[in-house]
Protein backbone atom coordinates (compact mmCIF):
# COMPACT_ATOMS: atom_id res chain seq x y z
CA UNK A 1 0.00 0.00 0.00
CA UNK A 2 2.41 2.65 -1.18
CA UNK A 3 -0.20 5.38 -1.05
CA UNK A 4 -0.78 4.88 2.65
CA UNK A 5 0.87 8.14 3.61
CA UNK A 6 -1.72 10.05 1.62
CA UNK A 7 -4.68 8.64 3.46
CA UNK A 8 -4.64 11.01 6.42
CA UNK A 9 -4.73 13.82 3.88
CA UNK A 10 -7.23 12.35 1.46
CA UNK A 11 -9.77 10.80 3.81
CA UNK A 12 -10.81 14.08 5.44
CA UNK A 13 -10.82 15.58 1.96
CA UNK A 14 -13.09 12.88 0.60
CA UNK A 15 -15.51 13.13 3.49
CA UNK A 16 -15.56 16.90 3.26
CA UNK A 17 -16.48 16.65 -0.41
CA UNK A 18 -19.15 14.08 0.35
CA UNK A 19 -20.77 16.15 3.04
CA UNK A 20 -21.24 19.01 0.58
CA UNK A 21 -24.11 17.04 -0.88
CA UNK A 22 -26.37 17.38 2.15
CA UNK A 23 -25.49 20.59 3.95
CA UNK A 24 -28.78 20.93 5.80
CA UNK A 25 -28.92 17.45 7.29
CA UNK A 26 -27.24 18.04 10.60
CA UNK A 27 -27.19 14.44 11.73
CA UNK A 28 -25.71 13.23 8.47
CA UNK A 29 -23.14 16.01 8.64
CA UNK A 30 -22.09 14.91 12.08
CA UNK A 31 -21.88 11.26 11.16
CA UNK A 32 -19.87 11.99 8.03
CA UNK A 33 -17.46 14.16 9.95
CA UNK A 34 -16.92 11.67 12.74
CA UNK A 35 -16.59 8.74 10.36
CA UNK A 36 -14.08 10.60 8.26
CA UNK A 37 -12.05 11.57 11.26
CA UNK A 38 -12.09 8.08 12.72
CA UNK A 39 -10.99 6.54 9.44
CA UNK A 40 -8.31 9.17 9.08
CA UNK A 41 -7.16 8.44 12.61
CA UNK A 42 -6.94 4.74 11.87
CA UNK A 43 -4.95 5.36 8.72
CA UNK A 44 -2.67 7.74 10.57
CA UNK A 45 -2.01 5.16 13.25
CA UNK A 46 -1.29 2.48 10.67
CA UNK A 47 1.07 4.93 9.02
CA UNK A 48 2.67 5.67 12.35
CA UNK A 49 3.39 2.01 12.87
CA UNK A 50 4.69 1.70 9.34
CA UNK A 51 7.05 4.64 9.76
CA UNK A 52 8.21 3.22 13.06
CA UNK A 53 9.06 -0.14 11.59
CA UNK A 54 10.16 0.76 8.06
CA UNK A 55 11.54 4.25 8.48
CA UNK A 56 10.70 7.37 6.51
CA UNK A 57 8.00 6.83 3.88
CA UNK A 58 8.16 8.77 0.66
CA UNK A 59 6.00 8.75 -2.43
CA UNK A 60 6.37 10.79 -5.55
CA UNK A 61 2.97 11.34 -7.06
CA UNK A 62 2.13 10.45 -10.59
CA UNK A 63 4.96 7.91 -10.73
CA UNK A 64 7.34 10.67 -11.76
CA UNK A 65 10.83 10.44 -10.44
CA UNK A 66 11.68 12.93 -7.74
CA UNK A 67 12.33 15.83 -7.94
CA UNK A 68 9.99 16.22 -10.92
CA UNK A 69 6.72 15.12 -9.44
CA UNK A 70 5.38 16.22 -6.11
CA UNK A 71 6.83 14.14 -3.34
CA UNK A 72 5.00 13.38 -0.15
CA UNK A 73 7.13 12.36 2.80
CA UNK A 74 6.10 10.93 6.12
CA UNK A 75 8.88 10.98 8.59
CA UNK A 76 8.20 10.44 12.26
CA UNK A 77 7.77 14.12 13.05
CA UNK A 78 5.26 14.53 10.28
CA UNK A 79 3.22 11.46 11.12
CA UNK A 80 3.16 12.32 14.81
CA UNK A 81 1.82 15.75 14.01
CA UNK A 82 -0.68 14.31 11.59
CA UNK A 83 -1.96 11.85 14.15
CA UNK A 84 -2.30 14.42 16.89
CA UNK A 85 -4.01 16.86 14.55
CA UNK A 86 -6.62 14.30 13.63
CA UNK A 87 -7.05 13.42 17.27
CA UNK A 88 -7.64 17.03 18.25
CA UNK A 89 -10.07 17.54 15.39
CA UNK A 90 -11.96 14.49 16.53
CA UNK A 91 -12.37 15.91 20.02
CA UNK A 92 -13.28 19.33 18.75
CA UNK A 93 -15.93 17.89 16.47
CA UNK A 94 -17.30 15.80 19.31
CA UNK A 95 -17.39 18.89 21.49
CA UNK A 96 -18.99 20.90 18.71
CA UNK A 97 -22.03 18.62 18.60
CA UNK A 98 -23.36 20.22 21.72
CA UNK A 99 -21.89 23.65 21.50
CA UNK A 100 -21.60 25.06 18.02
CA UNK A 101 -25.28 25.40 17.21
CA UNK A 102 -27.37 24.26 14.27
CA UNK A 103 -27.01 27.40 12.19
CA UNK A 104 -23.31 26.86 11.86
CA UNK A 105 -23.68 23.12 11.43
CA UNK A 106 -25.91 23.77 8.46
CA UNK A 107 -23.44 26.18 6.92
CA UNK A 108 -20.59 23.82 6.10
CA UNK A 109 -19.05 23.89 9.56
CA UNK A 110 -17.92 20.27 9.47
CA UNK A 111 -16.69 20.30 5.86
CA UNK A 112 -14.67 23.36 6.71
CA UNK A 113 -13.05 21.53 9.62
CA UNK A 114 -12.33 18.53 7.44
CA UNK A 115 -10.88 20.71 4.72
CA UNK A 116 -8.75 22.47 7.26
CA UNK A 117 -7.50 19.16 8.54
CA UNK A 118 -6.70 18.21 4.96
CA UNK A 119 -4.62 21.32 4.62
CA UNK A 120 -2.92 20.83 7.96
CA UNK A 121 -2.07 17.20 7.30
CA UNK A 122 -1.00 18.01 3.78
CA UNK A 123 1.33 20.72 5.01
CA UNK A 124 2.81 18.30 7.52
CA UNK A 125 3.29 15.60 4.92
CA UNK A 126 4.34 17.35 1.76
CA UNK A 127 7.87 17.16 0.53
CA UNK A 128 7.50 19.93 -2.00
CA UNK A 129 7.87 23.53 -1.06
CA UNK A 130 5.30 24.92 -3.46
CA UNK A 131 2.87 22.18 -2.62
CA UNK A 132 3.27 23.28 0.97
CA UNK A 133 2.08 26.69 -0.12
CA UNK A 134 -0.97 25.11 -1.70
CA UNK A 135 -1.79 23.18 1.47
CA UNK A 136 -1.24 26.33 3.49
CA UNK A 137 -3.84 27.97 1.32
CA UNK A 138 -6.24 25.07 1.84
CA UNK A 139 -5.95 25.35 5.58
CA UNK A 140 -6.00 29.12 5.53
CA UNK A 141 -9.07 29.31 3.35
CA UNK A 142 -10.84 26.84 5.63
CA UNK A 143 -9.77 28.85 8.60
CA UNK A 144 -11.17 32.00 6.97
CA UNK A 145 -14.45 30.18 6.60
CA UNK A 146 -14.40 29.01 10.20
CA UNK A 147 -13.40 32.32 11.70
CA UNK A 148 -16.16 34.22 9.96
CA UNK A 149 -18.87 31.56 10.13
CA UNK A 150 -21.72 32.98 12.14
CA UNK A 151 -21.21 36.52 10.97
CA UNK A 152 -21.11 38.13 14.40
CA UNK A 153 -19.67 41.60 14.41
CA UNK A 154 -16.49 40.72 16.17
CA UNK A 155 -15.99 37.81 13.82
CA UNK A 156 -16.31 39.99 10.75
CA UNK A 157 -14.03 42.61 12.18
CA UNK A 158 -11.31 40.22 13.21
CA UNK A 159 -11.62 38.10 10.09
CA UNK A 160 -10.55 41.02 7.97
CA UNK A 161 -7.40 41.47 10.00
CA UNK A 162 -6.73 37.75 10.01
CA UNK A 163 -7.18 37.40 6.27
CA UNK A 164 -5.14 40.46 5.53
CA UNK A 165 -2.18 39.26 7.51
CA UNK A 166 -2.37 35.85 5.93
CA UNK A 167 -2.70 37.18 2.42
CA UNK A 168 0.48 39.13 2.99
CA UNK A 169 2.21 36.13 4.42
CA UNK A 170 1.06 33.98 1.51
CA UNK A 171 2.44 36.47 -0.97
CA UNK A 172 5.71 36.47 0.90
CA UNK A 173 5.65 32.69 0.81
CA UNK A 174 5.26 32.65 -2.95
CA UNK A 175 7.97 35.20 -3.61
CA UNK A 176 10.28 33.35 -1.25
CA UNK A 177 9.65 30.16 -3.17
CA UNK A 178 10.36 32.16 -6.30
CA UNK A 179 13.69 33.39 -4.95
CA UNK A 180 14.60 29.93 -3.83
CA UNK A 181 13.66 28.47 -7.21
CA UNK A 182 15.82 31.04 -8.91
CA UNK A 183 18.80 30.05 -6.80
CA UNK A 184 18.46 26.27 -6.70
CA UNK A 185 16.16 25.58 -9.62
CA UNK A 186 14.00 23.02 -7.88
CA UNK A 187 10.98 22.75 -5.62
CA UNK A 188 11.36 19.32 -4.13
CA UNK A 189 12.42 19.73 -0.52
CA UNK A 190 14.82 16.81 -0.48
CA UNK A 191 16.37 18.08 -3.67
CA UNK A 192 16.63 21.59 -2.22
CA UNK A 193 18.34 20.15 0.82
CA UNK A 194 20.95 18.37 -1.26
CA UNK A 195 21.55 21.31 -3.54
CA UNK A 196 21.82 23.82 -0.73
CA UNK A 197 24.28 21.57 1.03
CA UNK A 198 26.37 21.50 -2.15
CA UNK A 199 26.24 25.25 -2.53
CA UNK A 200 27.37 25.79 1.04
CA UNK A 201 27.24 29.09 2.85
CA UNK A 202 26.07 31.85 0.53
CA UNK A 203 24.63 35.21 1.44
CA UNK A 204 21.52 34.88 -0.66
CA UNK A 205 20.64 31.54 0.91
CA UNK A 206 20.82 33.10 4.34
CA UNK A 207 18.54 35.89 3.18
CA UNK A 208 16.09 33.31 1.90
CA UNK A 209 16.36 31.49 5.21
CA UNK A 210 15.37 34.67 7.01
CA UNK A 211 12.51 35.12 4.58
CA UNK A 212 11.24 31.65 5.33
CA UNK A 213 11.49 32.43 9.02
CA UNK A 214 9.34 35.50 8.44
CA UNK A 215 6.80 33.67 6.29
CA UNK A 216 6.34 30.80 8.71
CA UNK A 217 6.84 33.07 11.68
CA UNK A 218 3.74 35.03 10.74
CA UNK A 219 1.77 31.78 10.76
CA UNK A 220 3.49 30.52 13.88
CA UNK A 221 3.04 33.76 15.76
CA UNK A 222 6.62 34.64 16.64
CA UNK A 223 7.83 38.05 17.69
CA UNK A 224 7.41 40.56 16.11
CA UNK A 225 4.90 38.98 13.80
CA UNK A 226 2.31 37.73 16.28
CA UNK A 227 0.34 40.92 16.90
CA UNK A 228 -2.58 39.84 14.78
CA UNK A 229 -2.99 36.55 16.61
CA UNK A 230 -4.64 37.32 19.95
CA UNK A 231 -7.45 39.37 18.51
CA UNK A 232 -8.22 37.09 15.62
CA UNK A 233 -8.15 33.87 17.57
CA UNK A 234 -10.51 35.22 20.18
CA UNK A 235 -13.21 36.04 17.64
CA UNK A 236 -14.66 32.67 16.62
CA UNK A 237 -16.55 30.36 18.97
CA UNK A 238 -14.55 28.18 21.34
CA UNK A 239 -14.37 24.94 19.30
CA UNK A 240 -12.95 26.85 16.37
CA UNK A 241 -10.59 28.66 18.70
CA UNK A 242 -9.48 25.31 20.05
CA UNK A 243 -8.71 24.07 16.56
CA UNK A 244 -6.87 27.23 15.66
CA UNK A 245 -4.96 27.32 18.89
CA UNK A 246 -4.00 23.69 18.75
CA UNK A 247 -3.18 23.37 15.08
CA UNK A 248 -2.63 26.48 13.03
CA UNK A 249 0.39 27.97 14.71
CA UNK A 250 1.89 24.50 14.85
CA UNK A 251 1.91 24.32 11.08
CA UNK A 252 4.07 27.42 11.02
CA UNK A 253 6.29 26.01 13.71
CA UNK A 254 6.55 22.72 11.86
CA UNK A 255 7.54 24.51 8.68
CA UNK A 256 10.25 26.41 10.53
CA UNK A 257 11.53 23.20 12.07
CA UNK A 258 11.49 21.49 8.69
CA UNK A 259 13.23 24.21 6.76
CA UNK A 260 15.71 25.02 9.49
CA UNK A 261 16.81 21.43 9.84
CA UNK A 262 16.54 20.32 6.23
CA UNK A 263 17.52 23.40 4.20
CA UNK A 264 19.40 25.95 6.19
CA UNK A 265 22.07 24.05 8.00
CA UNK A 266 25.11 25.69 6.47
CA UNK A 267 25.01 29.02 8.27
CA UNK A 268 23.74 27.96 11.68
CA UNK A 269 25.84 30.61 13.38
CA UNK A 270 23.62 33.26 11.86
CA UNK A 271 20.25 31.71 11.16
CA UNK A 272 19.85 29.68 14.32
CA UNK A 273 21.31 32.37 16.50
CA UNK A 274 18.66 34.67 15.08
CA UNK A 275 16.04 32.02 15.71
CA UNK A 276 17.14 31.79 19.32
CA UNK A 277 17.01 35.52 19.90
CA UNK A 278 13.59 35.71 18.29
CA UNK A 279 12.30 32.75 20.26
CA UNK A 280 13.32 34.37 23.52
CA UNK A 281 11.72 37.68 22.70
CA UNK A 282 8.65 35.75 21.61
CA UNK A 283 8.47 34.17 25.04
CA UNK A 284 8.78 37.56 26.72
CA UNK A 285 6.04 39.01 24.56
CA UNK A 286 3.85 36.00 25.23
CA UNK A 287 4.45 36.27 28.96
CA UNK A 288 3.49 39.91 29.04
CA UNK A 289 0.30 39.17 27.18
CA UNK A 290 -0.55 36.12 29.25
CA UNK A 291 -0.45 38.22 32.39
CA UNK A 292 -1.92 41.38 30.95
CA UNK A 293 -5.48 40.25 30.43
CA UNK A 294 -8.06 38.96 32.84
CA UNK A 295 -9.76 37.24 30.01
CA UNK A 296 -9.83 33.47 29.75
CA UNK A 297 -9.34 33.35 26.02
CA UNK A 298 -6.55 35.87 25.94
CA UNK A 299 -4.62 34.13 28.68
CA UNK A 300 -4.55 30.82 26.88
CA UNK A 301 -4.01 32.43 23.50
CA UNK A 302 -0.91 34.21 24.72
CA UNK A 303 0.27 30.92 26.09
CA UNK A 304 0.31 29.69 22.50
CA UNK A 305 2.82 32.41 21.76
CA UNK A 306 4.94 31.38 24.72
CA UNK A 307 4.88 27.75 23.65
CA UNK A 308 5.94 28.65 20.13
CA UNK A 309 8.92 30.47 21.58
CA UNK A 310 9.85 27.53 23.77
CA UNK A 311 9.65 25.05 20.91
CA UNK A 312 11.71 27.22 18.61
CA UNK A 313 14.28 27.73 21.31
CA UNK A 314 14.76 23.98 21.37
CA UNK A 315 15.11 23.96 17.61
CA UNK A 316 17.65 26.74 17.66
CA UNK A 317 20.00 24.70 19.84
CA UNK A 318 20.24 22.14 17.02
CA UNK A 319 21.37 19.37 19.34
CA UNK A 320 19.69 16.10 20.08
CA UNK A 321 18.20 16.99 23.43
CA UNK A 322 16.92 20.33 22.25
CA UNK A 323 15.31 18.99 19.10
CA UNK A 324 13.80 16.01 20.84
CA UNK A 325 12.45 18.32 23.49
CA UNK A 326 10.91 20.47 20.80
CA UNK A 327 9.17 17.52 19.24
CA UNK A 328 7.93 16.36 22.63
CA UNK A 329 6.74 19.83 23.43
CA UNK A 330 5.15 20.39 20.04
CA UNK A 331 2.85 17.40 20.35
CA UNK A 332 2.19 18.21 23.98
CA UNK A 333 1.20 21.70 23.06
CA UNK A 334 -1.27 20.52 20.44
CA UNK A 335 -2.99 18.32 22.99
CA UNK A 336 -2.86 20.64 25.96
CA UNK A 337 -4.00 23.73 24.08
CA UNK A 338 -6.89 21.76 22.68
CA UNK A 339 -7.81 20.60 26.16
CA UNK A 340 -7.45 24.03 27.72
CA UNK A 341 -9.57 25.76 25.14
CA UNK A 342 -12.31 23.19 25.52
CA UNK A 343 -12.12 23.64 29.29
CA UNK A 344 -12.38 27.40 29.21
CA UNK A 345 -15.14 26.97 26.69
CA UNK A 346 -17.16 25.19 29.35
CA UNK A 347 -16.33 27.85 31.91
CA UNK A 348 -17.51 30.49 29.49
CA UNK A 349 -20.66 28.51 28.80
CA UNK A 350 -21.38 28.25 32.51
CA UNK A 351 -20.66 31.80 33.52
CA UNK A 352 -21.64 33.54 30.35
CA UNK A 353 -18.49 35.63 30.34
CA UNK A 354 -14.83 35.24 29.69
CA UNK A 355 -13.91 37.99 32.11
CA UNK A 356 -12.14 36.43 35.06
CA UNK A 357 -13.18 39.13 37.45
CA UNK A 358 -16.82 38.31 36.90
CA UNK A 359 -16.63 34.68 37.95
CA UNK A 360 -15.81 32.72 41.05
CA UNK A 361 -16.46 29.71 43.23
CA UNK A 362 -17.12 27.29 40.43
CA UNK A 363 -15.34 24.43 42.21
CA UNK A 364 -18.28 23.98 44.51
CA UNK A 365 -20.68 22.90 41.80
CA UNK A 366 -18.30 21.85 39.09
CA UNK A 367 -15.52 19.99 40.88
CA UNK A 368 -14.57 17.74 37.98
CA UNK A 369 -14.23 20.72 35.71
CA UNK A 370 -12.06 22.39 38.32
CA UNK A 371 -9.72 19.50 38.84
CA UNK A 372 -9.48 18.80 35.13
CA UNK A 373 -8.57 22.40 34.60
CA UNK A 374 -5.98 22.33 37.34
CA UNK A 375 -4.36 19.24 35.87
CA UNK A 376 -4.32 20.78 32.43
CA UNK A 377 -2.89 24.00 33.86
CA UNK A 378 -0.11 22.12 35.60
CA UNK A 379 0.48 20.19 32.40
CA UNK A 380 0.80 23.47 30.56
CA UNK A 381 3.32 24.75 33.06
CA UNK A 382 5.37 21.59 32.74
CA UNK A 383 4.88 20.23 36.22
CA UNK A 384 5.98 16.59 36.29
CA UNK A 385 4.75 14.02 35.50
CA UNK A 386 2.29 15.83 33.25
CA UNK A 387 2.62 16.32 29.55
CA UNK A 388 4.68 19.48 29.32
CA UNK A 389 7.43 18.31 31.59
CA UNK A 390 9.60 16.04 29.50
CA UNK A 391 9.60 18.37 26.53
CA UNK A 392 10.62 21.37 28.54
CA UNK A 393 13.17 19.35 30.45
CA UNK A 394 14.83 18.26 27.24
CA UNK A 395 14.67 21.71 25.72
CA UNK A 396 16.41 23.22 28.72
CA UNK A 397 18.87 20.38 28.75
CA UNK A 398 19.59 21.05 25.11
CA UNK A 399 20.10 24.71 25.91
CA UNK A 400 22.49 23.91 28.69
CA UNK A 401 24.36 21.37 26.60
CA UNK A 402 24.85 24.13 24.07
CA UNK A 403 26.10 26.26 26.99
CA UNK A 404 23.33 28.79 26.64
CA UNK A 405 23.13 29.29 30.37
CA UNK A 406 21.10 32.47 30.66
CA UNK A 407 18.74 31.53 27.90
CA UNK A 408 18.06 28.17 29.51
CA UNK A 409 17.43 29.69 32.91
CA UNK A 410 15.14 32.13 31.20
CA UNK A 411 13.14 29.30 29.67
CA UNK A 412 12.77 27.77 33.12
CA UNK A 413 11.70 31.06 34.60
CA UNK A 414 9.12 31.53 31.87
CA UNK A 415 7.40 28.41 33.16
CA UNK A 416 6.64 30.36 36.29
CA UNK A 417 4.78 32.99 34.31
CA UNK A 418 2.91 30.28 32.47
CA UNK A 419 1.97 28.76 35.79
CA UNK A 420 0.91 32.10 37.20
CA UNK A 421 -1.26 32.91 34.22
CA UNK A 422 -2.90 29.51 34.20
CA UNK A 423 -3.34 29.23 37.94
CA UNK A 424 -4.85 32.67 38.02
CA UNK A 425 -7.76 31.28 36.07
CA UNK A 426 -8.12 28.53 38.63
CA UNK A 427 -8.00 30.93 41.56
CA UNK A 428 -10.39 33.43 40.08
CA UNK A 429 -12.85 31.10 38.41
CA UNK A 430 -12.92 28.15 40.75
CA UNK A 431 -11.97 29.57 44.12
CA UNK A 432 -13.47 32.49 45.92
CA UNK A 433 -17.09 33.29 46.55
CA UNK A 434 -19.62 32.11 44.00
CA UNK A 435 -20.23 34.79 41.45
CA UNK A 436 -21.96 35.25 38.16
CA UNK A 437 -24.80 33.41 36.52
CA UNK A 438 -24.73 29.69 36.08
CA UNK A 439 -26.97 28.90 33.18
CA UNK A 440 -26.04 25.50 31.91
CA UNK A 441 -28.18 22.42 31.95
CA UNK A 442 -26.67 19.33 33.57
CA UNK A 443 -27.12 17.48 30.31
CA UNK A 444 -25.23 20.04 28.28
CA UNK A 445 -22.54 20.12 30.94
CA UNK A 446 -22.13 16.37 30.73
CA UNK A 447 -22.01 16.45 26.96
CA UNK A 448 -19.34 19.10 26.95
CA UNK A 449 -17.36 17.46 29.71
CA UNK A 450 -17.11 14.06 28.05
CA UNK A 451 -14.73 15.00 25.23
CA UNK A 452 -12.92 17.52 27.40
CA UNK A 453 -12.14 15.19 30.25
CA UNK A 454 -11.08 12.48 27.84
CA UNK A 455 -8.68 14.87 26.20
CA UNK A 456 -7.27 15.96 29.54
CA UNK A 457 -6.80 12.30 30.38
CA UNK A 458 -4.91 11.82 27.15
CA UNK A 459 -2.57 14.66 28.01
CA UNK A 460 -1.93 13.05 31.38
CA UNK A 461 -1.15 9.76 29.69
CA UNK A 462 1.13 11.59 27.31
CA UNK A 463 3.17 12.80 30.22
CA UNK A 464 3.11 9.73 32.40
CA UNK A 465 3.66 7.39 29.50
CA UNK A 466 6.54 9.37 28.04
CA UNK A 467 8.63 6.24 28.03
CA UNK A 468 6.50 4.78 25.26
CA UNK A 469 6.89 7.93 23.23
CA UNK A 470 10.64 8.18 23.45
CA UNK A 471 11.35 5.73 20.60
CA UNK A 472 9.07 7.75 18.35
CA UNK A 473 10.61 11.00 19.42
CA UNK A 474 14.08 9.57 18.86
CA UNK A 475 13.14 8.63 15.32
CA UNK A 476 11.69 12.07 14.69
CA UNK A 477 14.80 13.74 16.06
CA UNK A 478 17.21 11.59 14.09
CA UNK A 479 15.71 12.84 10.84
CA UNK A 480 15.98 16.42 12.04
CA UNK A 481 19.60 15.93 13.01
CA UNK A 482 20.56 14.20 9.82
CA UNK A 483 18.83 15.45 6.67
CA UNK A 484 20.30 12.61 4.65
CA UNK A 485 17.79 10.22 6.23
CA UNK A 486 15.09 12.34 4.69
CA UNK A 487 16.70 12.86 1.32
CA UNK A 488 17.72 9.22 1.00
CA UNK A 489 14.14 8.14 1.60
CA UNK A 490 12.93 10.47 -1.14
CA UNK A 491 15.54 9.44 -3.69
CA UNK A 492 15.58 5.80 -2.72
CA UNK A 493 16.05 3.72 -5.82
CA UNK A 494 16.36 6.75 -8.04
CA UNK A 495 19.95 7.84 -7.79
Amino acid sequence: MINLLLFPVLIPFLFAAISLFFPKKVKAQRITAITGLLLALVSAIILLVKVKTDGVQALTLGSWAPPFGITMVSDMLSVLLVTSSILISLFVVWYSFSSIGEEREKAFYYPAILFMLTGVNGAFTTGDIFNMFVFFEVLLMSSYVLIVLGGEKVQLRESIKYILVNVISSSLFVITVGYLYSVVGTLNMADISIKLADIGQTGIVTVIAVLFLIVFGIKGGIFPLFFWLPGSYAAPPVPVLALFGALLTKVGVYAIIRTYTLFFTTDVGYTHELLMIISIITIIAGCIGALAYFDLKQIIIYNIVIAVGVILFGVSTMNESGLMGSVFYLIHDILIKGALFLLIGIIIKITGTSNLRKMGGLIKHYPILGWSYLIAAFGLAGIPPLSGFVGKLLIVQGGLEGEYLWQSIFILASSLVVLLSAIRIFIYAFWGEEKGSHDISPKLYRHLMAPTVTLVAITVLYGVGSEFLVPFMTDATSVLLDPSVYTDAVFEGVK
Binding site: Y144, L156, E158, L164, V174, Y179, F294
Partner: protein, 113 residues
Protein backbone atom coordinates in the same frame (compact mmCIF):
# COMPACT_ATOMS: atom_id res chain seq x y z
CA UNK B 1 14.85 43.10 -18.58
CA UNK B 2 14.93 41.04 -15.41
CA UNK B 3 16.39 43.95 -13.49
CA UNK B 4 13.81 46.31 -14.85
CA UNK B 5 11.13 43.78 -13.96
CA UNK B 6 12.55 43.48 -10.46
CA UNK B 7 12.25 47.22 -10.03
CA UNK B 8 8.76 47.17 -11.45
CA UNK B 9 7.79 44.39 -9.06
CA UNK B 10 9.31 46.33 -6.19
CA UNK B 11 7.17 49.27 -7.24
CA UNK B 12 4.06 47.09 -7.28
CA UNK B 13 4.88 45.82 -3.80
CA UNK B 14 5.43 49.34 -2.59
CA UNK B 15 2.10 50.48 -3.93
CA UNK B 16 0.43 47.39 -2.52
CA UNK B 17 1.87 47.89 0.94
CA UNK B 18 1.01 51.55 0.88
CA UNK B 19 -2.58 50.73 0.04
CA UNK B 20 -2.76 47.96 2.63
CA UNK B 21 -1.68 50.41 5.30
CA UNK B 22 -4.46 52.84 4.50
CA UNK B 23 -7.76 53.03 6.35
CA UNK B 24 -10.27 52.20 3.69
CA UNK B 25 -11.19 48.58 3.33
CA UNK B 26 -11.58 48.84 -0.43
CA UNK B 27 -8.11 50.31 -0.83
CA UNK B 28 -6.77 47.52 1.34
CA UNK B 29 -8.34 44.87 -0.83
CA UNK B 30 -7.11 46.58 -3.96
CA UNK B 31 -3.71 46.54 -2.30
CA UNK B 32 -3.86 42.79 -1.91
CA UNK B 33 -4.77 42.59 -5.60
CA UNK B 34 -1.64 44.52 -6.52
CA UNK B 35 0.31 42.34 -4.13
CA UNK B 36 -0.68 39.23 -6.03
CA UNK B 37 0.13 40.84 -9.37
CA UNK B 38 3.57 41.64 -8.06
CA UNK B 39 3.96 38.13 -6.72
CA UNK B 40 3.01 36.53 -10.00
CA UNK B 41 5.31 38.72 -12.03
CA UNK B 42 8.08 37.97 -9.60
CA UNK B 43 7.64 34.24 -10.05
CA UNK B 44 7.76 34.68 -13.78
CA UNK B 45 10.89 36.80 -13.57
CA UNK B 46 12.60 34.29 -11.32
CA UNK B 47 12.21 31.69 -14.03
CA UNK B 48 14.10 33.90 -16.46
CA UNK B 49 12.53 35.97 -19.21
CA UNK B 50 14.62 35.06 -22.20
CA UNK B 51 12.70 31.99 -23.39
CA UNK B 52 12.14 32.19 -27.12
CA UNK B 53 8.91 30.24 -27.37
CA UNK B 54 5.88 29.47 -25.27
CA UNK B 55 6.16 26.12 -23.52
CA UNK B 56 3.90 24.40 -25.98
CA UNK B 57 5.61 21.70 -28.00
CA UNK B 58 6.39 22.66 -31.53
CA UNK B 59 8.62 20.93 -34.00
CA UNK B 60 12.04 22.45 -34.32
CA UNK B 61 11.80 24.62 -31.27
CA UNK B 62 14.18 23.93 -28.39
CA UNK B 63 14.37 27.19 -26.46
CA UNK B 64 11.13 27.16 -24.52
CA UNK B 65 10.32 29.51 -21.66
CA UNK B 66 10.60 27.89 -18.24
CA UNK B 67 7.23 26.17 -17.72
CA UNK B 68 7.51 25.62 -13.97
CA UNK B 69 7.02 29.23 -12.85
CA UNK B 70 4.13 29.47 -15.27
CA UNK B 71 2.44 26.46 -13.73
CA UNK B 72 3.04 27.85 -10.28
CA UNK B 73 1.66 31.23 -11.26
CA UNK B 74 -1.45 29.63 -12.65
CA UNK B 75 -2.06 27.89 -9.37
CA UNK B 76 -1.34 31.09 -7.50
CA UNK B 77 -3.67 33.11 -9.70
CA UNK B 78 -6.53 30.75 -9.05
CA UNK B 79 -5.90 30.78 -5.35
CA UNK B 80 -5.70 34.53 -5.16
CA UNK B 81 -8.90 34.72 -7.13
CA UNK B 82 -10.57 32.63 -4.45
CA UNK B 83 -9.14 34.75 -1.68
CA UNK B 84 -10.07 37.99 -3.39
CA UNK B 85 -13.63 36.85 -3.95
CA UNK B 86 -13.87 35.79 -0.33
CA UNK B 87 -12.47 39.05 0.99
CA UNK B 88 -14.76 41.06 -1.23
CA UNK B 89 -17.82 39.35 0.17
CA UNK B 90 -16.39 39.71 3.65
CA UNK B 91 -15.82 43.41 3.12
CA UNK B 92 -19.31 43.77 1.81
CA UNK B 93 -20.80 41.92 4.77
CA UNK B 94 -18.69 43.84 7.22
CA UNK B 95 -19.76 47.11 5.77
CA UNK B 96 -23.38 46.15 6.04
CA UNK B 97 -23.00 44.81 9.56
CA UNK B 98 -20.66 47.34 11.12
CA UNK B 99 -21.52 50.27 8.94
CA UNK B 100 -18.05 51.46 8.09
CA UNK B 101 -15.22 50.53 5.84
CA UNK B 102 -12.69 52.39 7.95
CA UNK B 103 -10.33 49.91 9.55
CA UNK B 104 -9.35 52.36 12.27
CA UNK B 105 -12.90 52.11 13.55
CA UNK B 106 -12.59 48.35 13.82
CA UNK B 107 -10.04 48.07 16.57
CA UNK B 108 -12.17 46.24 19.07
CA UNK B 109 -9.80 46.92 21.94
CA UNK B 110 -12.60 48.15 24.12
CA UNK B 111 -13.44 44.53 24.76
CA UNK B 112 -10.16 43.85 26.42
CA UNK B 113 -9.71 44.24 30.09
Amino acid sequence: MEILMSILIGFLFMAAVYLILSRSLLRIIIGTGLLSHGTHLLLLTMGGLNGKAAPVLKDGVTDYADPIPQALILTAIVISFGVTAFSLVLAYRTYKEIGTDNMELMKGTEDND
